[in-house]
């Protein structure tokens, strides 16, 4: 049964609390999302009723655990419109998935003189694996730059992606700029030059409909915890023929076919890439998060966040002394809003907002090359999710105003 988004708030008891004697307004969703009761209940149910190791056991609990684990894989498959469950590899998170691709596909296919193309706004997790691979292989790492508006510069992308390019890796949605990149176009461009395309979906899958088949991406990695699943579980989507040809990522239990004294064979996909006992409860919790999002509908989630951005962004932009980064047009901006207050370090801003109950992130957001590119040391960042309301946006605006006044006047009167 479809769930109404407006009713969702009660599914998140964590939001119903005061911090520093103020109503909590949680706006750090790009870092991690809160978990609805349905996800927590799924974890508890698994540990209280079905817990066993998967795949190997013959007994009933092992069968139940295996079924629940593989069922979660099917849920994820349908959620991102992959063609086969074998194309869904469970990982620790987006970082783990991207490292998997770099150290297996990348290791096998990138040679000296080849090029790897990423963008300047990548999170470190979609940057360092490629940077280190390029160093190791004597390949060249190239960066696609941004337009003045903070969007990916597609003219530059066309120039940077060449016949020497082996891998193009770009985030589908930026964790700082609040922009969405034209992944379908980038994948096509990569393919025209014989390269593969790797998408970082950490900031997109939780917030918008994603269809990996339509996008025609070769690999696509994302994290469970940013889409209300547990921490420590993530997904790597990979096209079957590519996954098939790749060497394993790690060796050990669960990933083998036969092991002999001098050689071994590997398990079928996707288990070839799932060495050791996996995060079984995490996968089941992620399945519950997928159910939750599916019940609401990703179109609804996206529309709700867009409505909040339409309301909040222009008000922040018109506030004197506030700089908002990325596109100024709300229609081009996701619910990730990086900003600074004039003459104030974002850490001071984040501490002040916390005193008002408003949780935001401050720092370089694991994107130091982007900070250098923007000429910044750090920013504050407010990021929205489906349970945020217009009242939350208003609280942020009021708190920003009071923060400005506090630092302008040096102090506030004790209440």
């Amino acid at each position: 049964m479809a769930q109404k988004l407006s009713d969702s708030r009660t599914d998140f008891p964590i939001l119903d609390q005061e911090v520093n004697d103020e109503r909590l307004v949680y706006l750090d969703n790009a870092a991690t999302a809160q978990k609805p009761n349905q996800v927590v209940d799924a974890l508890v149910h698994f540990y209280q009723h079905d817990n066993a190791n998967v795949h190997r056991g013959v007994h009933t609990l092992a069968e139940r655990a295996t079924e629940a684990y593989e069922n979660a894989r099917h849920k994820v498959q349908h959620f991102i419109h992959a063609q086969k469950p074998t194309e869904i590899v469970f990982t620790k998170g987006a970082t783990d998935g991207l490292n998997l691709v770099a150290s297996t596909y990348g290791e096998a296919n990138v040679q000296a003189g080849d090029e790897i193309v990423i963008s300047i706004m990548e999170h470190h997790s979609n940057l360092i694996p490629w940077q280190q691979l390029a160093i190791k292989k004597h390949a060249t790492l190239k960066y696609i730059e941004l337009t003045a508006d903070g969007e990916l510069d597609m003219v530059d992308a066309v120039a940077k992606i060449t016949d020497k390019t082996k891998i193009v890796a770009v985030a589908h949605a930026s964790n700082v700029m609040g922009t969405v990149t034209p992944v379908k176009q980038l994948a096509k461009l990569a393919h025209e030059h014989g390269a593969i395309f790797v998408g970082d979906g950490a900031q997109s899958v939780p917030h918008m409909p994603v269809d990996v088949t339509d996008l025609d991406v070769d690999f696509y990695a994302f994290s469970g915890h940013k889409m209300m699943g547990p921490t420590g579980i993530g997904v790597l989507y990979g096209k079957e023929d590519l996954l098939q040809a790749m060497p394993p990522y790690q060796y050990g239990g669960e990933m083998i076919g036969f092991v002999h004294r001098d050689d071994s064979t590997w398990a079928e996909l996707p288990w070839k890439f799932e060495a050791g006992t996996q995060n079984i409860a995490g996968a089941i919790g992620l399945g519950a998060a997928v159910d939750y999002l599916t019940n609401i509908g990703m179109d609804q989630v996206q529309a709700h966040e867009q409505k909040l951005v339409d309301y909040l962004l222009p008000k922040m932009e018109s506030m004197p002394g506030v700089t908002v980064y990325g596109p100024q047009d709300p229609a081009k901006h996701t619910g990730v809003i990086a900003f600074n207050l004039d003459n104030l370090h974002p850490h001071d801003v984040a501490t002040a907002l916390d005193m008002e109950g408003v949780a935001v992130r401050a720092g370089h957001h694991c994107a130091q090359p982007l900070m250098d590119y923007l000429g910044l040391v750090a920013t504050a960042r407010a990021s929205l999710y489906l349970y945020n309301t217009q009242a939350d946006a208003d609280k942020l605006l009021t708190a920003l105003q009071e923060t400005k006044e506090f630092f302008n006047h040096g102090t506030v009167k004790a209440e």
Partner: protein, 155 residues
């Protein structure tokens, strides 16, 4: 509660130091220098010290970027240690580090810190302790001639 609790963190003297930091400049000549970064937030401090032959701090200056707390802490630190011996300065750095994590100290030790003692409230804001201690760490490591760039307190 709102922002009133902020008064205990951002006292006027702290805001004054942040707005008009003391000794925020490079030195023409120095004996001990260090660049220390806090990787979590990107704060950077370059600290330069000129020691006399008998190990007294003849001059000290800092440059870099950081928040109100880190900048004012650096400013107050330079005020406090100017003219002190290396031994005295190291003892003050220890006192400050202890104070920041809530350890009790003799009032005489805290008085030595001058304005910097006002940051004793920092322990109420655990996320900001690193901001306050960065410059004192830099002082300690410059005096001990350790040159690694990253703050050891990185989590």
């Amino acid at each position: 509660m709102g922002l009133s609790k902020l008064n205990s963190l951002y006292r006027e003297v702290i805001l004054d130091h942040a707005d008009h930091p003391h000794h925020k400049h490079t030195l023409a000549e120095s004996t001990n220098t260090i660049t220390l970064k806090n990787p979590t937030c990107g704060d950077v401090i370059n600290l330069e010290i000129k020691l006399t032959p008998d190990d007294k701090i003849a001059d000290i200056g800092f440059t870099g970027d950081g928040c109100t707390i880190s900048q004012s802490s650096a400013s107050m630190m330079t005020d406090a240690v100017m003219g002190k011996s290396k031994e005295e300065a190291l003892k003050m750095a220890k006192t400050f580090s202890d104070m920041a994590i809530g350890k009790e100290h003799a009032q005489a030790d805290l008085d030595e810190l001058q304005d910097a003692a006002i940051l004793s409230n920092i322990m109420q804001f655990p996320a900001r302790i690193k901001c306050a201690t960065l410059s004192w760490w830099a002082l300690q490591r410059a005096l001990l001639e350790e040159t690694d760039e990253t703050s050891e307190e990185e989590s």
